[in-house]
């Protein structure tokens, strides 16, 4: 039986993601853990997160999990979600300037205030709800129609330095990177665990992914 661990570093509610992983593949052992050893032994690792980046990085350093994630990122399939995606970049402008894990060179920026859509209606922050995702070629998109809608809730977005790291974009109102990937690491800004069938499909793809592109 293959196993997946959802990293618990005290940031947010991990039950949703654990339940969705179990539902996506009932044959996988799903655990929520903060134990570096459990994480080291798992076949796959999910790095979720909600809340503020400064608290997130503080918690990762306090628990020693920052180092663990660095190791996972070079050894087995890793899925970052929401804040867990943003934390993979170099730094974030949230909370002044917060240094992140630097697995993907680039920055995390806030959506500008007072943006409007094509009809002149103000775009609210956070960007909350179901938005379309334009995917680029990657095995984790298998079985998911192009431009499917996923559930987002965030005020900051990733701006990777290298164009080849962007594996999907969305628009609010301008295109922004909503998924990044390299080698065995894949990370998304939206919440697959809250994106109904397309989200479950993505999780299922992750649970059978060997980490190759």
């Amino acid at each position: 039986m293959s196993s997946v661990v959802v990293i618990d570093y005290g940031m947010g509610n991990l039950h949703s993601i654990a339940k969705a992983l179990q539902h996506a593949d009932s044959g996988v052992e799903v655990r929520i853990s903060a134990d570096p050893q459990v994480i080291a032994q798992a076949d796959r690792v999910v790095f979720p997160g909600v809340g503020a980046m400064r608290d997130c990085m503080q918690a990762l350093h306090d628990t020693g999990l920052a180092e663990v994630i660095q190791q996972v990122a070079v050894s087995k399939p890793l899925l970052g979600i929401c804040l867990g995606m943003q934390a993979l970049l170099t730094d974030s402008e949230e909370g002044g300037k917060t240094a992140c894990l630097n697995l993907f060179p680039g920055h995390v920026r806030r959506f500008a205030d007072n943006l409007t859509d094509a009809n002149g209606q103000r775009l609210k922050i956070p960007h909350m709800g179901w938005n379309q995702v334009q995917q680029l070629n990657h095995p984790l998109w298998r079985g998911i129609p192009q431009n499917s809608r996923f559930y987002f809730v965030h005020s900051y977005y990733a701006v990777p330095d290298k164009a080849e790291h962007t594996i999907a974009t969305s628009e609010y109102p301008y295109p922004f990177t909503c998924a990044i990937a390299r080698d065995n690491v894949f990370a998304v800004q939206f919440h697959p665990e809250k994106s109904q069938s397309v989200g479950l499909q993505l999780l299922q793809n992750f649970l059978s992914w060997d980490g190759s592109c």
Binding site: N13, H15, S16, K19, N147
Partner: protein, 257 residues
């Protein structure tokens, strides 16, 4: 190609059963919340909101079980409101599988609670529910006030100012209910919805008064709401969620289909 407007069916749950809105005299049993949530998910609901109207504290565990059950098979955002007064209430709901909680009267009696909740759990899961009623007379500039106790007790608080304050205190979203319209099936209070939606930078969910599908579209187009919430029109299968979405789409609104 942009963010879809959301349709959110709301289930008023009393002791583990879905009932028709609180303001209706004739409370009609609409069924099992888990079954209804499943149906809404199949029909394409963008989120589901549970409003626990159970009167006694002891029976509150029932809603936790409902959320647990729904969360293990329905993978869209779930919000739970009603009786959220302490940080521990929030933690319990999130652990059961809720993604957001609605804070209503506790915010009015203790606004700092919203601040503490947002700091502890993140703004993304804090929905502040505002029950407002028009208090200005004909010919006067419109003014709405916050009411508590199901719309019976005025507080003297200006609804627009309150919404801004709640945003500044860390609310991630506002669920706005017109107590004048709730249960009337005559449509949202559009000037109220618009006033609040234009005053804040966070998403606003319009609620109270939906009787037909045009009301939903009006809330978005004229009320500038980011999402619309309705209860009774969906419970008794008067309209399906999918039908509602097709209707919004026909009126030029972007939806998830």
């Amino acid at each position: 190609m942009s963010l879809a407007k959301r349709i959110i069916p709301c289930l008023d749950v009393d002791n583990g059963r879905v009932v028709k809105g609180v303001k209706f005299v004739d409370i009609r049993d609409a069924g099992d919340p888990v079954e209804i949530a499943r149906r809404y998910d199949r029909e394409g609901a963008d989120e589901i909101t549970f409003l626990d109207i159970t009167a006694t504290h002891d029976d509150r565990d029932t809603i936790v079980h409902v959320v647990e059950q729904v969360a293990s098979e329905v993978f869209i955002p779930l919000t739970v409101g009603g009786g959220i007064r302490k940080l521990d209430d929030i933690r319990r709901m999130l652990n059961a599988g809720a993604d957001k909680v609605g804070i209503n009267s506790a915010a009015v009696f203790n606004p700092e609670f919203v601040q503490q909740a947002a700091e502890k759990f993140g703004s993304q899961c804090i929905v502040v529910a505002i029950d407002a009623k028009k208090v200005s007379g004909d010919g006067e500039p419109p003014r709405w006030e916050i009411f508590t106790h199901g719309g019976r007790k005025p507080t003297g608080i200006n609804a627009v100012e309150w919404a801004i304050k709640m945003q500044n205190f860390g609310a991630g979203e506002i669920l706005l209910t017109s107590m004048d319209r709730d249960g009337t099936k005559s449509g949202f209070d559009l000037p109220l919805t618009r006033a609040i939606s234009e005053a804040v930078n966070i998403p606003v969910i319009a609620s109270g008064g939906v009787g037909n599908l045009d009301h939903l579209a009006d809330g978005i187009i004229d009320g500038k709401a980011d999402a619309v919430l309705a209860a009774s029109i969906f419970h008794f299968a008067e309209y399906s969620i999918e039908q509602a979405k097709r209707h919004l789409q026909a009126r030029g609104i972007e939806v998830r289909l």
